[in-house]
């Protein structure tokens, strides 16, 4: 993996900065994100409240940082869930092959073509809007792409000379998978999981924005945006801060995934018109 290129990627540093701000920020800020102050409702951004206050007089910056914890937790957690599930499906389909692979890949194709938001909304309504539930549900809707790319890589690795050599030396299938295939999957998996995190952050904010994800006292960027809609005409800053946070984080994860994967064009012979 190109760790060097990754370390030079501004997107990774941007993402790290966002995570650090959300984890440490609330402690440094020292403002209670839940403190309601009805005498300070809907104050525009200014010296006292850097990002203004919301309809209950709560500090938007404090809520943004605390809500970011939730959004990022769901995003990273769901990415992990999707990674484990996708790796399991891809590995099974790629290594076992035959009918198992055919069935798994057809299911993956269908799940891929299906707009999972409908099932996600239905499931989120049924199990209720807790953070762990939503994390698992979002993860369950994002394994398909990972399963596909992992299967493709496993099919390549199965026929790689070093794997065949190990098999010829009498390595058991478990050893082949554990020692020779899995370690070589890490690059493929890293790109796919980061992309899944990107989609997960978007999914969580979408579901919460629709009012079917996290329930009100819990702040996340999505619920903050949902609240802002009613005050859009008078207090547009309520929509700007969480929206920018989502947009920036989502763009950063996308860019990290791009810098992890190899450049598409190596030697270009085309010089253009």
């Amino acid at each position: 993996m190109s760790w060097r290129r990754l370390a030079r990627s501004p997107a990774l540093w941007g993402l790290a900065l966002i995570c650090a701000a959300c984890i440490v920020g609330p402690l440094l800020l020292g403002v209670d994100a839940e403190a309601i102050d009805l005498s300070a409702r809907l104050i525009p951004p200014g010296p006292g409240h850097l990002l203004g206050t919301d309809e209950n007089g709560r500090d938007v910056l404090a809520r943004l940082l605390v809500g970011g914890r939730v959004s990022l937790f769901v995003g990273f957690g769901a990415g992990l869930v999707a990674g484990v599930l996708g790796a399991a499906v891809g590995l099974t389909a790629g290594w076992v092959g035959g009918l198992v692979s055919a069935v798994l890949m057809r299911l993956t194709d269908f799940a891929f073509a299906f707009p999972t938001i409908f099932v996600l909304l239905l499931a989120a309504t049924l199990v209720g809007g807790g953070v762990p539930q939503l994390t698992i549900l979002v993860g369950l809707t994002l394994w398909m792409t990972i399963g596909r790319v992992v299967r493709g890589r496993v099919l390549e690795l199965r026929q790689a000379p070093f794997v065949e050599a190990a098999a010829a030396l009498g390595a058991s299938p478990w050893r082949l998978v554990g020692r020779h295939v899995l370690p070589n999957l890490q690059e493929t998996l890293a790109v796919a999981v980061v992309l899944a995190i990107h989609h997960a952050i978007l999914s969580e904010s979408t579901v919460s924005f629709l009012g079917l994800g996290l329930r009100p006292p819990l702040a996340s960027w999505g619920t903050m945006l949902a609240n802002s809609q009613a005050y859009l005409a008078t207090s547009p800053w309520l929509a700007v801060a969480p929206g920018l946070a989502i947009a920036f984080t989502v763009l950063a994860t996308y860019a990290v995934a791009q810098s992890l994967s190899l450049p598409q064009e190596t030697a270009s012979r085309f010089r253009g018109p």
Partner: protein, 315 residues
């Protein structure tokens, strides 16, 4: 042969989907009878009575048979909240959703492929970098946030366009009024797909522009326009066919949030409304319809791909 196998697979997936819906119907809180009679308010005898009327005391297999037979007649179930058949509720919302999706899809396809072609052609220098950056932004931007900002700027501040809603069906509206309501939701729905189509066109066209046969085309003195339109674009369009097919059910998914944001009376808004009301039969009906659309879109994309690309026919 290919078509027969593909059809069989599609039928199998459809059967799995229908069966999953039937199981979900049994599983949902309180079971099927709770939709008609809340156990908290109705006596157990009354519930048994309702279950008998609905045939819920019959063996599951018989019920399953009835469910399948109903589906074949276009019956998707009954919504107790609305006291109306689910098929009719969905049918009423289908028109506005299809209108929105059709305009967004057309916009995305036209603008996306044009942008991708430009980006592939001018791949170098600052112009190329800019042409490459915009689709990435379009793909990653959270649509509902862009929608909120557009509402604020265009509808609230500048008062150029309505912030949402659509005219009630059957009202005597001028096409101009319908169009004005359509612009913002269409743009927001199309945005990520403009980016997706642009990225696909760009990478597909780039791969072709650096290929040997195009170098030959240039070498024999063909003008740029001839190279692009006759040799490069037709081949670059092939992967787009699959992408376009797959995008259609996903557009329905994106429409959920767009319709909610702009109060557009379509399927997506119906889904959110029915979930907020805990009106599960409607939601299951929507999932079934959307699943059917996904299966069909996938099937059509595969068949068209098969027809336009001789390469895959060898398999």
């Amino acid at each position: 042969m290919f078509l027969a196998r593909r059809l069989a697979q599609a039928a199998l997936v459809l059967w799995l989907l229908v069966t999953a819906m039937f199981v979900a119907l049994q599983w949902l809180p309180g079971g099927p009878a709770a939709f008609l009679a809340d156990p908290e308010f109705e006596s157990p005898e009354r519930i048994t009575q309702i279950e008998r009327n609905l045939g819920l005391d019959r063996p599951l297999l018989v019920q399953y048979e009835g469910y399948l037979a109903g589906l074949l007649h276009g019956e998707l179930g009954w919504s107790p909240h609305q006291n109306a058949p689910v098929a009719r509720l969905i049918g009423e919302r289908l028109g506005p959703s299809l209108l929105l999706m059709a305009t967004a899809f057309t916009l995305a396809l036209v603008v996306g492929t044009a942008w991708g072609t430009l980006a592939a052609w001018h791949a170098r220098g600052p112009v190329g970098a800019l042409l490459d950056a915009v689709p990435v932004l379009a793909v990653t931007a959270p649509g509902f946030w862009i929608g909120l900002l557009l509402i604020y700027v265009l509808a609230i501040e500048l008062r150029l366009l309505p912030s949402g809603g659509m005219l009630p069906p059957g009202s005597e509206a001028s096409p101009w009024l319908v169009l004005r309501h359509l612009i913002l939701p269409t743009v927001v729905l199309a945005l990520p797909w403009v980016g997706t189509f642009a990225l696909y066109t760009r990478s597909s066209l780039r791969a072709i522009l650096v290929s040997d046969y195009l170098r030959t085309a240039w070498a024999k003195g063909l003008a740029d326009r001839g190279v692009l339109w006759q040799h490069a674009l037709p081949n670059a369009a092939i992967p787009l066919v699959t992408m376009a097919g797959i995008s259609i059910p996903h557009l329905l998914g994106n429409a959920v949030v767009v319709e909610q944001l702009f109060a557009w009376p379509g399927i997506g808004r119906l889904a959110v409304e029915s979930l907020l009301r805990r009106d599960y039969p409607v939601m299951l009906g929507i999932v079934l319809v959307v699943g059917l659309a996904a299966i069909l879109a996938n099937l059509v994309a595969d068949v068209v791909y098969h027809l336009v690309d001789p390469g895959v026919r060898v398999e």
